[in-house]
Amino acid sequence: MNKENEKYLIKGEKGKWEVVIGLEVHAQVTSSSKLFSGSSTKFGAEPNTQVSLVDSAFPGMLPVINEYCVQQAIKTGLGLNAKINTYSVFDRKNYFYADLPQGYQISQFKNPIVGEGKITLDLPNGSKTIGIERLHLEQDAGKSIHDLDPTSTYVDLNRSGIALMEIVSKPDLRSPYEVGVYVKKIRSIMRYLGTCDGNMQEGSLRADVNVSVRQEGDKKLGTRCEVKNVNSIKFMQLAIAYEAQRQVDLLESGKSFYQETSFFDIKKNETRSMRSKEDAHDYRYFPDPDLLPLNLDKELIEKIKKNLPELPDQKKDRFIKDYSLNAYEANILVSEKEISDYFEEVVKTSDIKLTKNWITGDLFASLNEKNISILESPIKAKQLASLINSISSGLISGRAAKEVFEIMKETGGDPIKIIEEKNLKQKSDPKELEDLIDKILQANKDKVSQYKSGKDKLFGFFVGQTIKISGGTANPQLVNNILKNKLK
């Protein structure tokens, strides 16, 4: 496997092959109701409990566009630095399937709501711009359940009609790693905007991955294969690696292949063909006569633009400027909106450097360990700020702070209370410390004379002893000063 900062190339017998990847991300629009009906979109409901007459395509039922979903699409388009089309059209994509009640999916074909845009990826050796081809709105289908009964298929229409945004990239991606960064970036932008929760386990974000290979230096695109409906970044990366290698092997052995559609078998870790170009569906797209073309008010777009929240790239620039972070640190802190919010709440009252280190260090480690998100963290921002401020003010030592943190991450308790209970308060009373140090010097007379005869290194021993015997509560700065005086 190539390293992250190396160009991703597949070495074959006949030279090096470049992998060209384009993504069609399907993102579920955050909306309480469906794209063309008032049914709820809540995840995890009992099968067929969130289905209206429209969703189940009863005779005479008609779709009515959910304007909130349209606004969400505009927002996302603006977040992708894309052109918003004031005129767009809903088309019918016709095909038969048991979980597609209408016998067609309402989508946007020729005239999508969002046109070309671009996003910037931060890669180890610099940034890279990925072109966005388009974004369009479409309905999701229902779900066929094949494993409940040996002879029948069950259909759950809860998903039927839920609004999706299909975000199509240009074929600008060149490695599985870039694809990972790209998907995370798109997800981050949508989460900042509140237009898609990006929850891949619940199917809110999935992608069709288009893969082709060409010899290094070639300008022409190779024949591509589309791997359908991959629902995790890891599987996308595995699918690309497998599919690219398969294509290279075929081409190197002199075989050509046709454009085809496949799926990724996660158990066997391989892509398998679903249908070739010859059996490709003819979807017979045509404008849905039940819906008028979508004519957007320029003012509406302007209004949404004005109220757009700060996006990851802007926030990153601001963090670098305001908090003197480097690009790497800023990237980590803005990668998810919740993390940046957390950081900003802590840093509001606390030291920047300590805040940055505690969040990216101990806090992230504890979250990883428990496999939870920052929102689920038992240590809330205010508590972490209080802990950090206890260090800054000299109330506790850094070492004691670690101990307090260990308790906080289990109990979520208040750091001040923990410090008091565990008696971790830093001893900063010079009299008290002097007494303690006197005792230590008394007990180590031999070492004192060694020190005085020139063994400077022993100074550290006295400091260590003092801290140790104080149970980590002695203020190191004070200990230093007192020791220096006494050992003169």
Binding site: L53, S56, A57, F58, P59, G60, M61, L62, P63, V64, I65, R92, N94, F96, A98, P101, Q102, G103, Y104, T153, V155, D282, R284, Y285, F286, D288, P289, D290, L291, L292
Partner: protein
Amino acid sequence: MSDIAKKNLTEIVSLIKKKELKSEELTECFIKNINKDKKLNSFITNCSELALEKAKQFDKNPKLETLLPGVPIAVKDLFCTQGIKTTAGSKMLESFIPNYESTVTKNLWNEGAFLLGKLNCDEYAMGSSNETSYFGNVINPIAENTVPGGSSGGSASALAADLTPTTIGTDTGGSIRQPASFTGTVGLKPTYGLCSRWGVVAFASSLDQAGPMTKTVEDCALMLEAMAGFDEKDSTSIKKKKENYSKKLTDNIKGLKIGIPKEYRVDGMPKEIDQLWENGKKILRESGAEIIDISLPNTKYALPTYYIVAPADASSNLARYDGVKYGFRSSKANNLNEMYENTRSEGFGDEVKRRILIGTYVLSSGYYDAYYIKAQKVRQLIKNDFDQSFKKVDAILTPSTPSAAFKIGEKKDDPISMYLNDIFTVPVNLAGIPAISIPAGTDSNNYPLGLQLIGKPLDEQKLLNIAFAAEKKINFKQNLNRWWEK
């Protein structure tokens, strides 16, 4: 008592409002007639018992300020009616009972009317003779063996035979106006978007429009008033306040300009149609209107355009009838594809299959541009023709159909000849504008013939006024010998 059933809607409403007629008595008159309907076959579902119940309820607590107080109405079986079988004339929906009510029928019931029954129609409204219905042919009461037209054939037949005081149909390419013309009744296709399509089984979404079928123009105004209105559940519904068509109805049409399109003078048109048209011009001129020759140059492309656009919509609209969720499902299937194939092969009739095939073909990749896109362009040209003409005239006068009612079976195996029947009505649907057919004379067999008046978008009032004036002068009298009761 049977005379009551002969009365027009306006007279009936007036009697009820004056408390000279009980809804129950009225309803019984129609039920009596319906029970002798066997030969006409105009009903698919008879709701007599339910109607009587509703009539009694009405009489107990009559709401007389409504537009249709205590009036029983049978409707085309394309309108979904809550708790009542809605078949669309198809085996596919033979036992389908919706748990919802179409907006248009709900509007009628809100005005004091109630359901009398569901009327036969061509399967999914695809047909011009009511011969494609899974529930059998409907006969035109004007003569044995004649078709009532289609697709609202059951509606026209029931209305003409006094089985319902008024009715509603749907018109995708002439399905209200052609049967009205064949049965000597009045039929209006409103502006696209005036009446909600919600809850109406869809045929061609961009053309379908519900409308009233009545005995008189005044009845037509009253019914349109009751059924029309903005519906937020239909995205193509027009936002517009309700009109009082019946109150504003006048036969004063002095100074109005009526256009006569030369392209509607088709080759081989019977002489009597020509005479009918001439007579129409004469009458309107006598009423003070000005007759102006106009040209609608793209008329000749209307029928081929229609037979691309309508089947395209239909092929997609009818995809939902797949046996998965409701309606007919073939029992002879071992897997999903077989279920689709067998369900749709057994559930749909020939004409529906023909149109699904045409529609699928014209939308297919490689043919889409040559057929569908071209048809949409021509459709715009046809609309432009009308727009241009309406700069010069207030309405357009044409014959409703190129012939009177034909014999059952006469055109059944010749789809092109059948489709040609809609030649005068189809352009109106493509343009989305309103048109009304009124009885205006008879042919040599004494079969009724209709004249069509075409108006500007949302100009139904003027159209009704002109029709009202013409109706007075024409003074058409329906004389049925009620052969089917014998």
